[in-house]
C-alpha cells in the first residue's frame, strides 16, 4: 500500500498557475506607464548681447539694407496670462521711418497675419524667405540632393554631409543674408517668441538678435493700431 501511495504522489501536477503573476506584472506595468516620462524636452539655444554700454564707435551697426525688425505683441486675458490665439506681428525693414509719424501717423511698419493658432507663421515665413532667398534656394537644392542620397549612399553619412553643407550655406558671406532683430512687447506670448526664433532656424537665418523694444517702436505700433481701428 505504501508503495502505491508514493507512486500516486509522483503523478501530482507540477505546473504552477501563472495567472496571479500576470496580474501583478500588469499592475506594475500600469504603474510605470503612468508615473514616468519617456519624452524628453528639447532645447533652443540662444545668446543675448552683453548688457554693458558699448562705446559709440565700437558699435557694430547693422547694415540698414539687411535689417528686418520683427515685433511680437499679444494680449493678456483676465488671469494675466498671454493668450496664444491673440498674438499680433509687426515688422519693418531697415531703420524706422518716422518723418510723418507725428502728422499722419504713417511709418514703414506693417502688420502681418499671425498665422494659425498652432504657431505656424506662414506670413512671416514668406517675408523672411524673400529676404533670405539665396540661402533658402541653396538649402532647398541641398535638401533635394539629400533626399536622393546624392552625398553618400550611407544614410548617416548622407545626413552628416547635408548638415555640414547646410551650415556652410547659412554662413556663406557671398549670399545676401538678412539680420533679424526680434523684439517683443511685455504682453507678448512666450510661445510666439519661441515660434519666431524657430522661424530663424527653419529659414536658415543665422544672424538674429533679441532686443528690447524702444519708444519709437511702441509709438509706431500704437499709431498703426489706431489706423487699423479707424478703417
Amino acid at each position: 500500500m505504501a508503495i502505491k501511495s508514493k507512486s500516486r504522489q509522483k503523478k501530482f501536477d507540477t505546473r504552477i498557475d501563472f495567472t496571479p503573476m500576470v496580474d501583478m506584472n500588469m499592475l506594475l506595468i500600469t504603474f510605470f506607464m503612468l508615473c514616468t516620462t519617456m519624452i524628453k524636452s528639447q532645447t533652443l539655444k540662444i545668446a543675448l548681447p552683453t548688457n554693458e554700454k558699448v562705446e559709440k564707435e565700437d558699435q557694430n551697426k547693422v547694415k540698414q539694407s539687411e535689417a528686418v525688425t520683427i515685433i511680437i505683441d499679444g494680449e493678456l486675458d483676465e488671469k494675466g496670462l498671454s493668450d496664444p490665439s491673440k498674438g499680433k506681428l509687426y515688422y519693418y525693414d531697415g531703420m524706422p521711418e518716422t518723418e510723418n509719424l507725428a502728422t499722419t501717423g504713417e511709418s514703414n511698419m506693417k502688420q502681418i497675419q499671425f498665422g494659425t493658432e498652432d504657431g505656424a507663421y506662414p506670413a512671416i515665413r514668406g517675408i523672411l524667405q524673400e529676404r533670405n532667398k539665396e540661402v533658402v534656394k541653396e538649402i532647398a537644392e541641398l535638401k533635394d540632393k539629400w533626399k536622393k542620397h546624392e552625398f553618400d549612399k550611407d544614410d548617416d553619412k548622407n545626413t552628416e554631409i547635408f548638415q555640414q553643407k547646410r551650415k556652410e550655406a547659412t554662413n556663406n558671406e557671398n549670399f545676401k543674408r538678412p539680420v533679424v532683430i526680434i523684439k517683443a512687447t511685455p504682453n507678448a506670448c512666450y510661445a510666439h517668441v519661441v515660434s519666431v526664433l524657430d522661424e530663424m532656424q527653419i529659414n536658415g537665418i543665422v544672424r538674429y538678435q533679441i532686443d528690447r523694444i524702444n519708444e519709437v517702436d511702441s509709438a509706431m505700433m500704437i499709431l498703426l493700431q489706431g489706423k487699423e481701428l479707424n478703417k
Binding site: 501563472f18 514616468t36 524636452s41 506670448c189 510661445a191 515660434s195 524657430d198
Partner: protein, 230 residues
C-alpha cells in the same frame, strides 16, 4: 462517445507565455523611463522644431511660473563624485557665502541635517532668509510652502555689483566645485529656462535680463517637440 471526450478537454490556459511577455514589458519600462520629478508648478513648454535634447546632467533649470515666480532645479553629474546631492549641498554653502558679500550682518547658518534635506530636493524657491525654516518642515508642508511662497526673489536689476537673490544663486552655481556644470554654463547648455507657453514675455524677460546682467548671456529655452512639414 467521441463527443463526450472532447468536452472533457481542459479549459485552463497556460499563462507562462503571458507572464514572460509582461515581465519583458516591465523590464523595458523600468530601464527606459525616468520618473516624473515633483515640480512646484506645472508648465507646458512651447512647441519648437528644435531637436536638441535637454541634457540630463549638469543642468541648472530655471522654472518660471506664469505669474512670475521663479524656482531652481539643479542636476549634478551622473557618474562622478559630483552627483546631484553633492552639487546641491555645495551650492547652498556657496550661496551663503555669496549672500554674505552684500549682507555681511546676515545670520545664515545651516545645520548638517538641513543641508542634507536640501541636497535631496529637486526644486527649491524660497528667500534665503527663510530657507532654514523651510527645510525644517515636513515634506507635505514644504511642498505647500513652496507652491504658495514667493519663489526666489527676483527683480529687474542692472547692477552686477549688487545682485538680487536669483543672480546670487546662479553665481553660486557657476562657482560650484562641479567643473562640468561650470563648463556647461560657459558653453550655453548649463542654464535652461522652463516657462509655460502662455507666459507673458515680460515675465520671461525679467529672468533673461537678470542673466544678462551677470554676463550669463548664453542659455537655452526648454521646448517641446513640434514636427514641421515641408
Amino acid at each position: 462517445m467521441g463527443k463526450v471526450k472532447i468536452k472533457k478537454k481542459e479549459t485552463r490556459i497556460d499563462m507562462t507565455a503571458m507572464s514572460d511577455v509582461t515581465v519583458l514589458l516591465l523590464t523595458f519600462f523600468m530601464l527606459t523611463s525616468t520618473f516624473l520629478q515633483k515640480e512646484p508648478v506645472q508648465v507646458i513648454t512651447p512647441p519648437s522644431v528644435n531637436e536638441e535634447k535637454v541634457p540630463d546632467q549638469n543642468l541648472l533649470s530655471v522654472l518660471v511660473s506664469p505669474e512670475g515666480k521663479v524656482y531652481l532645479e539643479v542636476l549634478g553629474s551622473k557618474d562622478s563624485t559630483m552627483r546631484s546631492e553633492t552639487v546641491r549641498a555645495d551650492l547652498l554653502k556657496k550661496m551663503v557665502a555669496e549672500y554674505k558679500k552684500t549682507h555681511p550682518s546676515a545670520n545664515l547658518t545651516f545645520t548638517n541635517k538641513e543641508i542634507e534635506t536640501f541636497s535631496k530636493l529637486n526644486a527649491f524657491g524660497v528667500p534665503i532668509t527663510r530657507m532654514s525654516e523651510w527645510l525644517k518642515m515636513d515634506t507635505e508642508e514644504r511642498d505647500k510652502a513652496l507652491k504658495e511662497g514667493p519663489g526666489i526673489p527676483i527683480s529687474m536689476n542692472e547692477d552686477p555689483n549688487n545682485p538680487n537673490e536669483f543672480q546670487m544663486w546662479i553665481k553660486a552655481a557657476y562657482n560650484s566645485e562641479n567643473e562640468e556644470l561650470k563648463d556647461a554654463i560657459v558653453k550655453g547648455g548649463g542654464i535652461a529656462i522652463k516657462a509655460d507657453q502662455s507666459t507673458p514675455y515680460s515675465v520671461v524677460n525679467v529672468v533673461m535680463d537678470n542673466l544678462q546682467t551677470i554676463k550669463m548671456n548664453k542659455f537655452t529655452l526648454m521646448t517641446a517637440l513640434k514636427v514641421e512639414e515641408d
